[in-house]
């Protein structure tokens, strides 16, 4: 894999993370990070939608009439979202999580990461790099989701992936951590840590 592809794949995961640097997809990051399971399923769903939509639209990029390109993007992305939702609903293991995530699976279509990357990258690049870009952005989004969910589930319910961890040590779950504001505070802390490591992100 050449250096440019590697950069496409690795950049969104840390240096150009869609949540902490581009500040996209915040709404769902606050909503689905109560449990690790939810965050994991959301991460996989967004990654699949973002990667496959980027791939399809990159293949079609030279045939799409520019006047209706946003509409074509919407059609493809919403198709992927519906497919993901249908598949999640079909499996016994994911049915309950799909219900728990309810509207947020459908709202992946409004996740700016997906449409943003298609518009900014997939329409101007070849299919393979576009696929990797979509994949990497989904993973970068998921990484932050999992980090936030780790603290929220551990401190808010005393569990991880539903397995009791702190509860048996006599920890009383902190309900504040379950509420959306705490996700925003945790997210702020992650942005703070990242910016103190990556000095070039700091505004003068």
């Amino acid at each position: 894999m050449n250096a440019k592809l590697k950069e496409t794949l690795l950049n969104p995961i840390f240096k150009g993370n869609p949540i902490t640097v581009l500040v996209l997809g915040i709404c769902s990051a606050l909503a689905v990070t109560v449990t690790m399971k939810g965050a994991l399923v959301m991460m996989l769903s967004v990654t699949v939608v973002s990667a496959v939509s980027s791939l399809i639209l990159s293949i079609l990029r030279n045939t799409i009439p520019s006047r209706v390109r946003i509409i074509v993007q919407l059609v493809v992305v919403s198709m992927m979202v519906i497919l993901v939702d249908q598949v999640l609903r079909s499996f016994e293991a994911t049915y309950a999580i799909d219900k728990q995530l309810s509207v947020y699976i459908g709202l992946i279509i409004t996740n700016c990461i997906v449409m943003g990357r298609i518009e900014a990258f997939a329409l101007g690049n070849k299919p393979w790099p576009s696929f990797l870009d979509g994949l990497a952005n989904g993973l970068g989004y998921g990484l932050i989701l999992l980090t936030v969910a780790f603290f929220r589930e551990l401190l808010g319910s005393g569990t991880l992936f539903g397995v009791d961890i702190l509860g048996r040590l006599g920890y009383v779950p902190n309900n504040l951590v379950i509420l959306p504001p705490m996700a925003l505070i945790l997210l702020g802390c992650i942005v703070w840590i990242q910016r103190s490591i990556q000095k070039d992100l700091q505004e003068k």
Binding site: P65, V72, S102, V103
Partner: protein, 278 residues
């Protein structure tokens, strides 16, 4: 090729939309059976949660086939009744009503025809009936389990399609809200069968325990969802009123004067009938 011509644009979008819709229709048909099976087990889980066979999470953890087996094992009988309280037909033992079927019955209750109202009676004595109505953003529904007197609510479980997480969604997610129903009594004689009171229901002297009546506290920040739930409960329990009136077990009046009740002298423990005191 010029991709900006009108004809090209129209044909292109039409073809894309056709391909996408064909694909979605195919996938939806192919996966329908599996989704229906999941939904059925989910509804059985909701009904059994209301009938106190375990918490929602415990029942979900069982897996589909075990939920179906448990439902079949614990169910005494299930049938439909009409608005006059007469039994219409027995239901198949694994028949449950998905939300969209409840919706159809909901229209009929509100005057569009004769509804078929499902009743599920379990071997532990609980009678479970569904409710259905409109929340703030979408439908809400649930199951209420009654004790044998068909007045005391044993417990309730509610679910929703798209209520706001953290606010309206608490009718489903907040166990404290659902626990408020336990032990309350529906008032079939009054104008309102059950009330979810904004600002708080009457409390015992300790200021916390709800008085045993037909009122409970609404959820802060979920006024419209609670209004919808209140409406749904009153509409549906109103439809079941005749059935409940005819079939209420009278065993609860054994402790009082049996002759006042006039019904339950048979089958009651003599010692419990303290009629001599009057």
């Amino acid at each position: 090729m010029d991709t900006n011509k009108n004809l090209y644009t129209v044909v292109y979008t039409a073809v894309v939309v056709l391909i996408v819709s064909a694909l979605l229709a195919f996938v939806s048909t192919a996966l329908k059976d599996k989704q229906d099976a999941n939904e059925k087990a989910d509804i059985m889980g909701q009904i059994m949660t209301a009938a106190q066979f375990g918490t929602r999470a415990e029942l979900q953890g069982l897996g589909n086939s075990n939920v179906l087996a448990k439902f079949d094992e614990e169910l005494a009988e299930s049938f439909t009744v009409n608005l006059a309280g007469e039994k219409v037909a027995d239901l198949q033992r694994d028949k449950v009503y998905p939300a969209k079927e409840l919706k159809a019955q909901n229209y009929k209750i509100k005057g569009a025809g004769e509804p078929e109202l499902p009743v599920f009676i379990f071997k532990n004595g609980k009678t479970v009936v569904p409710i259905y109505g409109a929340g703030l953003w979408g439908p809400i529904w649930g199951y209420i389990a009654f004790e044998e007197d068909l007045t005391t609510i044993a417990s309730a479980y509610f679910d929703h399609d798209s209520e706001t997480a953290g606010l309206g969604a608490r009718i489903k997610d907040d166990p404290d809200f659902q626990h408020e129903f336990n032990g309350e009594k529906a008032d079939f004689a009054g104008t309102r069968i059950f009330e979810i009171v904004k600002g708080g229901a009457p409390k015992e002297a300790d200021g916390k325990t709800s008085v045993i009546d037909n009122k409970i506290d609404a959820i802060t920040g979920a006024t419209m969802t609670c209004k919808g739930l209140d409406e749904a409960i009153n509409t549906w329990l109103g439809a079941y009123k005749a059935y409940f009136g005819k079939n209420a077990s009278t065993s609860s009046c054994c402790g009082e004067c049996a002759q006042d009740c006039g019904k339950c002298t048979e089958g009651c423990d003599e010692a419990e009938n303290n009629c001599g005191e009057e």
